[in-house]
Amino acid sequence: MTETWIILGATSSMAKAFARAVSLQGANVLLAGRDLDDLHVSAFDCGQRGAALAEAIPFDARDANGFDAIIQRARQEEGMINVAVFVGSMPPQAEIDLDPSLIDGVIADSFTGPAKFLQAIAPEMEARGGGTVIGVGSVAGDRGRIGNYVYGSAKAGFHTYLSGLRNRLTRSGGHVVTVKPGFVDSAMTWGIEGMFLVAPPEKVAADLLNAVKKKKDVIYTPFFWRIIMGIITRIPERIFKKMSV
């Protein structure tokens, strides 16, 4: 039976690569995001690449009123419902320092928005007895750093949420993959100083598919970020607080 993938934040390059990868397998894809003009083109593209069904659908992480329409649309399809969450926003920390109210948006985009969506769709997944959630977090969520600790803390919250959701959905045959990408070659990292070991989105998408297939719980992509973050999280706080990594 054809699976359905709801892709939240489908305009990002990582999401686009992932949507193409599942299209190639013949899945249904619902591309959810704010820029519908752009998503309509992506939907056509996915259809040509093999998606059984590809549609653009409006989604704004900050407006939970729109969530139900997406869930209702997915319900019309038979087979397992999967969700891949690519949303998140990272304004420069310096801007947040000047305007602390920006924090609300970051938390909504990176944590509470997707969490509300997942909370709303979880009963449907449970009723169907399976399905997979991919939650894209960030290595920034592993430890608060001077450069992006608001974004990092939102992602840390999301990681914890995903861990709990995994605990829940496992009971009905579902699964949750937490993904912690390092630097991905996207519009978000383009031109930012200090980027290294930047991974192409296609590589990340392949890692995600593999993690779904093997039912991995938490993955770092590319894999070596597990080692890098292993070191960073083990630095004693009294030393770490003076560092700028």
């Binding site: 305009t11 990002s12 390059s13 820029d35 003009d37 752009d38 083109v41 992506s42 056509f44 593209d45 040509q48 690449r49 996207s186 519009a187 383009w190 031109g191 930012i192």
Partner: protein, 437 residues
Amino acid sequence: MLWKTLTYCGWGRVKHAKGPVARPERASTVGQALDDDAGPAIGNCRSYGDACLNNEGSAINMTRLDRMIAFDPDTGILQVEAGMRVGEIARIFAPQGWLPAVMPGTGFATVGGCIANDVHGKNHHGAGTFGNHVTEITLMTAGKTQTISPTKSPALFKATVGGLGQTGIILSAKMQLLACKGDVMTVTERRITDFDAFIAALDQSQSTYTVGWIDATATGEALGRGILEEGETGYGLVPQKKSSKSVPFDAPGFALSKPVVKAFNTAYFRRVPASGRTIVKPIQDFFFPLDRIHDWNKLYGKSGFMQFQCVVPPSHLDALKRIVEKIAHSGLASPLAVLKRMGPKSAGLMSFPMEGYTLAVDFRADRKAYSLIAELEEMVATAEGRIYLAKDATLDTKHVPAMYPNLPKFVAAAKKADPEGAFETDLTRRLKIRSAS
């Protein structure tokens, strides 16, 4: 962020540029980049010299705009964003019975790049150039976006096809795909003993796709010997070869030294039995034979390489023979040498193809190669031929007006579309193309 300062180079790695590059991921961001700091569009930088470079200026990398926008299975008209790779179109559509009507030698070339250089393929003698199959272009110039076609703004269309990016940013294009039976090629390979026999064989070939590999190290009686490949698309099952390989580092100088190339070429020639043979292979292996080796340009070492590609009209065939002779005697050629018949068709004012024979040979970039190529270019000019600007890194400006007789028309159209010269590239500045009168 919108901009990133990058050092980048043409495929031959002899020309480099440094400057801010934007890489929009949505069509809406292209306009933003243009408003901010207008510069020419670039794709996968598969042109060899400096056609894809803008040193000390900005450039807009279109490779992330690589989606299909619309397709009509009744007519075979496909609309794609400019950054989509030709090889990707072939991979997706061949199993459905469609192929890009013209494909260059690498599938990594983007549709935008194929239009801007009005590229040709192994079927030029019949099908013409890439631009001959483009039915519409969405073009963004500073301030406005317009759709142009052979009938709507034909002057601008002809200046955009083969126009080296000078008229603006190609956002998307519609093209007529060619019906094919499947994604397999039936290829007939035959040994050709010398130059004259090669010309005769090319002239007589009835195939849709024809290309000749020549042993550019063979001299004397064997001058111009090689292998003629003739192909037709078909339906069948051929196992796809495993993943591609890549060249991890710059090869040392001796890798392509004279004895190595001579030995390689002899073996390559003998690979095909004296009686010839017909084989089937996946279309990618026929159209894009080198794409399976990623970064093969590193084989020429750190200093890079140049490709000399000319076309010479049939009336000056003797000159072409002298060119091959000169190359063979120089001992500088690499194994990559291609001879093809060209038909009369092209679609742009600055298109390279013309009726005749085209020869392309790679040379490692060293002092001897530079002086040899300069002499060859002189010979091409005398023979009323042309040098392919998509490959060029060395041409003398004085040759450009005679080789490209539509230059004045092109200059006028480019000036109208881009009065500020915002889309100039290192190539147009080096060859003074925009300031020609």
